[in-house]
């Protein structure tokens, strides 16, 4: 809205001062034409009507309730018969605060208790995780008695990190000496097909000089499984032929969906590759 009167209404017959005098009610020297307006404004300023003061009792009650903390419900509207709104009483000052304070007293220690309980629960969870990892590691070390189903492992689930898997190429040529254990190599060699030594089979499987095809890996694993007495015995069986850097540590191995002892799919350069089923490892990184 602009600050000027709109055009087309004709010349303003009254001065702004006249109108200001009307509005303020302090100047009665207005033009005679404004007398009806002045009477109307005077009527607006006129003394209170009875109905306009009828709500004093309710106002006083509200004052007592709010300013003095007086209890009890009051009607917000006046007594003149208009619509009345019940204001529900606030709790009595002598009674209500005590349970409220009591609740606060009870709540604060409860909050501390919750915090302590959460800390204890967190510590317990961490302990369970540590114990679980330790147990899994120990279980895996002795996992030769657990079977894994050949060809059914969809993905590698080992926690192996690629950086922790030693590269067979990095140690190539130094891991030529077989373990000097005297337990089973001769028997194993005799029980094999006679064409490949178990140690070579193990090395070809776990530390091949060149990456094996999936078919070759499966064939060698089958042979090793026959030699070791089952798929779950392959790793312990081969461990005696392998240098530690060839086979890696036990906890680098795939636990497999069907049990421990399933070898990880590794290619020749020591990186994590496809597992026995050819699927890409999901949690190798």
């Amino acid at each position: 809205m602009s600050d000027s009167l709109p055009p087309g209404e004709g010349p303003d017959p009254y001065e702004g001062q006249d109108l200001e005098g009307l509005l303020s009610g302090k100047d009665d020297s207005f033009p005679a034409g404004l007398r009806p307006v002045a009477q109307t404004l005077d009527a607006l300023r006129a003394a209170p009507m009875r109905a306009e003061l009828g709500g004093e009792a309710a106002a006083r009650a509200n004052f007592r309730k709010i300013m003095l903390g007086d209890g009890g419900g009051t009607w917000a509207s006046d007594d003149s018969g208009g619509e009345r709104t019940l204001i529900l009483p606030v709790e009595a000052s002598g009674v209500a605060p005590r349970p409220l304070q009591g609740r606060h007293r009870r709540r604060r220690p409860a909050r501390r208790g919750n915090w302590q309980a959460k800390a204890l629960a967190g510590a317990a969870a961490a302990a369970v995780v540590v114990i679980g990892v330790s147990a899994l590691t120990g279980t895996f070390s002795g996992s030769g008695n657990q079977s894994a189903q050949s060809g059914t492992s969809p993905s590698a689930t080992s926690a192996t990190s690629p950086s922790t898997v030693p590269s067979s190429k990095g140690v190539e040529g130094s891991a030529t000496q077989e373990p000097s254990r005297s337990s089973s190599p001769t028997a194993s060699e005799q029980s094999g097909d006679g064409t490949v030594k178990p140690s070579e089979l193990c090395r070809e499987y776990y530390a091949p000089e060149e990456p094996l095809s999936l078919h070759d890996k499966r064939a060698r694993f089958q042979q090793l499984s026959n030699l070791a007495g089952g798929p779950g015995h392959v790793y312990p069986y081969c461990l005696q032929f392998l240098q530690p850097w060839d086979a890696g540590s036990a906890d680098q191995w795939d636990q497999g969906p069907h049990g421990t002892g399933w070898p990880p799919g590794r290619n020749g350069n020591g990186n994590q590759g496809k597992d026995e089923s050819g699927s890409q490892g999901q949690n190798q990184q």
């Binding site: 809205m1 602009s2 600050d3 000027s4 009167l5 209404e9 303003d12 702004g16 109108l19 009307l22 509005l23 303020s24 009610g25 009665d28 034409g33 404004l34 007398r35 009806p36 307006v37 002045a38 009477q39 109307t40 404004l41 005077d42 009527a43 607006l44 300023r45 006129a46 003394a47 209170p48 009507m49 009875r50 109905a51 306009e52 003061l53 709500g55 004093e56 309710a58 106002a59 006083r60 509200n62 004052f63 007592r64 709010i66 300013m67 003095l68 917000a76 509207s77 006046d78 003149s80 018969g81 208009g82 619509e83 709104t85 204001i87």
Partner: protein, 207 residues
């Protein structure tokens, strides 16, 4: 022309500045918990408040006034200012409650009352009797209700609340010039509504 009315048995004064010079003391005692001094403030301001609200929200003026006083009471201990500031604060609070009520009614509209001007409706069961006693004031309120709301509000804040142009401009969030224009337009509109007779003649009251 102020203070010429005689209502009932009491001498009439206008609705502006009843407390006057004692305002600071009355306010301080009310803030300190004096119910009687609060009643002085209430008697001073409530009639003007009701008239302002009856022009702008005739259907629920009493409810809004009661709600306004509840808000004022809650903040009364923290109020600092003179009587003009007190009135400005009171009417600002009332205006906010008025806007809240308008929003509420917009969301939950009531049955429309067509063909009947809101200002002509009886506002309480004894409105007829009140009208007989206070024809001039009632007629004036009804007339103001027929003005465009911004103009009526400016006039009511100037005339009934007793606020000056600057205070009204602050309250409404407009410029003083804008407030003056609205007031003058409202007065001209009022003049055209009244004709030569005036509200006193319409009410059968002479001054």
């Amino acid at each position: 022309m102020m203070g010429k009315w005689l209502r009932g048995s009491g001498l009439c004064v206008d609705t502006q500045h009843v407390v006057g010079d004692d305002f600071a003391r009355v306010l301080a005692e009310a803030q300190g918990g004096s119910e009687d001094q609060f009643a002085v403030l209430w008697r001073d301001a409530n009639p003007a408040l009701l008239r302002y609200l009856r022009v702008l929200a005739p259907e629920n003026a009493e409810d809004i006034a009661a709600e306004t006083w509840m808000h004022v009471l809650r903040a009364l201990p923290r109020f600092v200012g003179d009587e003009s500031a007190w009135r400005a604060w009171l009417f600002t609070t009332a205006r906010r409650r008025l806007i809240d009520q308008a929003r509420l009614r917009k969301r939950h509209p009531a049955e429309p009352l067509d063909e009947i001007s809101a200002g002509d409706l009886p506002r309480s069961p004894d409105a007829e009797q009140l009208a007989l006693d206070n024809l001039a004031t009632e007629s004036a309120i009804a007339l103001l209700s027929r003005l465009p709301q911004p103009q009526a509000e400016v006039i009511m804040l100037r005339v009934v609340a007793g606020l000056d142009t600057e205070a009204v401009a602050t309250l409404l969030g407009k410029s003083p010039g804008n407030v003056r224009v609205m007031a003058h337009r409202g007065l001209k509109k009022l003049e055209s509504l009244l004709g030569p007779a005036g509200v006193a003649s319409r009410a059968g009251v002479t001054t």
